[in-house]
């Protein structure tokens, strides 16, 4: 089976000669959770943002396979780029909801790649999108919040809306950039299980950047350890020994 995402030799330099990503090779498919762990500043976020091109890669290819069609995301521009972005859902650390819009409007934002500006302005979304949005709100446990403004929600509720917004796209890949870093431990666990469940339910891979190694071990089917812009571990939770963690994060005082 073809992998949904194939990253080949990905390099990103913000400044010439100072690569943040130094040739990343990854193939991600199936419907499991892939957790990317590693110290701050090692390029985890850059990697995720290169995939949906919020950041432009310097070198390498990122292949997206959708229903037998193979597209190199790294070279897309304009309309073709927007069409491919519709296939990739993204969940953000600080939720990035549009604060002054309602929960329902935030969910429908996930369909903006499919509606014209005239329809978007009049909030004329296809009825099945609205139905789907209500169903998703029930799924994430916010059925009664459709007409609340996003800025009235708690952190955990906001992240649920963020996940529902990404799922509204009916994506082929779900990216999550530190989705639990702004949340308390209990809510973090809830958000991680929601991501895992939804990945399985939609049959899509979920790629999560995460600081919390324990949380990663608990929820991820596959762990990718990054250090200094390179992949230094790729395997399951059982294989992630203290020696490997030391290699990823450096030092050992924090391991105990």
């Amino acid at each position: 089976m073809a992998h949904a995402l194939e990253i080949e030799g990905l390099v990103k330099e913000y400044r010439r000669g100072q690569p943040v990503l130094k040739g990343i090779n990854l193939r991600i498919g199936g419907s499991g959770v892939t957790a990317i762990i590693g110290p701050s500043g090692t390029g985890k976020s850059t990697l995720l943002r290169c995939i949906n091109r919020l950041i432009d890669p310097t070198q390498g290819a990122i292949w997206l396979n959708v229903e037998g069609r193979r597209t190199d995301l790294s070279t897309l521009r304009g309309r073709a780029l927007r069409a491919s972005r519709r296939q990739i859902g993204m969940v953000f650390q600080e939720y990035n909801l549009v604060e002054r819009l309602t929960v329902m409007e935030n969910l429908l934002t996930g369909r903006l790649g499919y509606v014209s500006a005239w329809d978007a302005w009049r909030r004329k979304f296809p009825p099945q999108d609205v139905q789907n949005a209500f169903a998703l709100l029930d799924t994430v446990g916010l059925g009664d919040f459709a007409n609340q403004r996003a800025d009235a929600l708690s952190g955990g509720q906001r992240q649920r809306v963020g996940i529902a917004r990404a799922l509204m796209q009916r994506p082929q890949v779900l990216l999550a950039d530190e989705p639990t870093s702004s949340l308390d431990p209990k809510t973090s666990v809830e958000i991680m299980s929601l991501l895992r469940e939804q990945g399985r339910a939609q049959g899509i891979p979920v790629i999560v950047n995460i600081h919390d190694v324990e949380l990663a071990r608990r929820f991820a089917d596959r762990l990718v350890g990054m250090s200094g812009g390179q992949v230094v571990y790729d395997g399951d939770a059982a294989g992630l020994s203290d020696a490997k963690l030391k290699q990823i994060y450096g030092g050992e005082d924090w391991l105990s």
């Binding site: 919020l54 953000f92 990035n96 549009v98 819009l101 934002t109 903006l112 790649g113 978007a120 963020g162």
Partner: protein, 266 residues
């Protein structure tokens, strides 16, 4: 050695800045005194002026209430001018403000948009009104155009700055869904700036109401023309009526714009 120079430099920095500030304050003071001596701005003239001012005020009473039709026509025209100029000015300012926002548009585009807005702002509405009276002739049309230009200069700049202050995270999230540029503006940008835009727009309406009573002095329509000719005829009773009506309209306008803001949840 160089370390010592650096640390001593750091210690004396606040004192040096203070000396500069004192120098500037001193220069300002000297210039103020010089300007006073040049322009014959003196206390005795002010005192004798008070006397004449009181005389003028006394002649304003009782207010002349007999010219209702002139007052009515003039005020209605002024208000129509203000509303039209505000609406048209805002409609033109919206795209100009967007084009001038440096976080969304390429550099050259923002320069052009900002240049247009700055040009509109550089001259006072009364001076612009003189140009338009020469171009399109006496009457409300010249006044509306003049007030429009002023509105674009003012709110075009405020719109652009409001757009530049939005949170990029919300925009990024909308962009990540594959939304077109227009949809990113509609769902990512507009909700963040709408309430501030309404605030600016109502402020501009208020400002245009006041200015619309003034451009008439140069023949650009509205109550200003009647006010100016009443002054020239020494018809101070009517001047009083006109001024009182203008104050009333401005206060009513204030109440109206407050209601408008409530409607838009500002």
């Amino acid at each position: 050695m160089s370390g010592a120079t650096l640390s001593s430099g750091r210690i004396s920095t606040p004192f040096r800045a203070s000396a500069l500030a004192r120098g500037v304050s001193g220069a300002l003071l000297v210039y103020t005194v010089y300007a006073l001596s040049q322009l014959n701005f003196s206390w005795p003239r002010f005192v004798s002026g008070l006397d004449r001012g009181a005389h003028l005020l006394a002649r304003m009473f009782p207010p002349d209430m007999t010219k209702g039709d002139i007052l009515w026509t003039g005020m209605v025209e002024s208000m129509q001018m203000a509303v039209l100029a505000s609406v048209l000015g805002i409609v033109i300012s919206l795209p100009l403000g967007l084009l001038g926002a440096r976080n969304l548009m390429p550099q050259p585009v923002t320069w052009l948009a900002r240049a247009v807005v700055a040009a509109c702002r550089s001259l006072h509405p009364v001076i612009v009104a003189i140009f338009f009276v020469k171009a399109v002739g006496f009457g409300a049309m010249a006044g509306i155009l003049a007030l429009m230009v002023g509105s674009i200069g003012f709110i075009g700049k405020l719109f652009a700055e409001a757009i530049e202050e939005i949170s990029p995270k919300q925009v990024e999230a909308v962009r990540a869904t594959g939304a077109s540029f227009a949809n990113v503006i509609l769902f990512g940008v507009a909700p963040q700036v709408l309430s501030r835009f309404v605030g600016f727009a109502t402020y501009q309406l208020d400002s245009n109401l006041r200015n619309s009573t003034m451009v008439g002095i140069v023949g650009a329509g509205g109550i200003g023309g009647a006010l100016f000719s009443a002054f020239q005829r020494f018809d101070y009773g009517f001047v009083c009526t006109i001024l009182a009506t203008i104050v009333l309209i401005i206060v009513l306008g204030e109440l109206l714009t407050n209601q408008l803001k409530k409607v838009f949840h500002v």
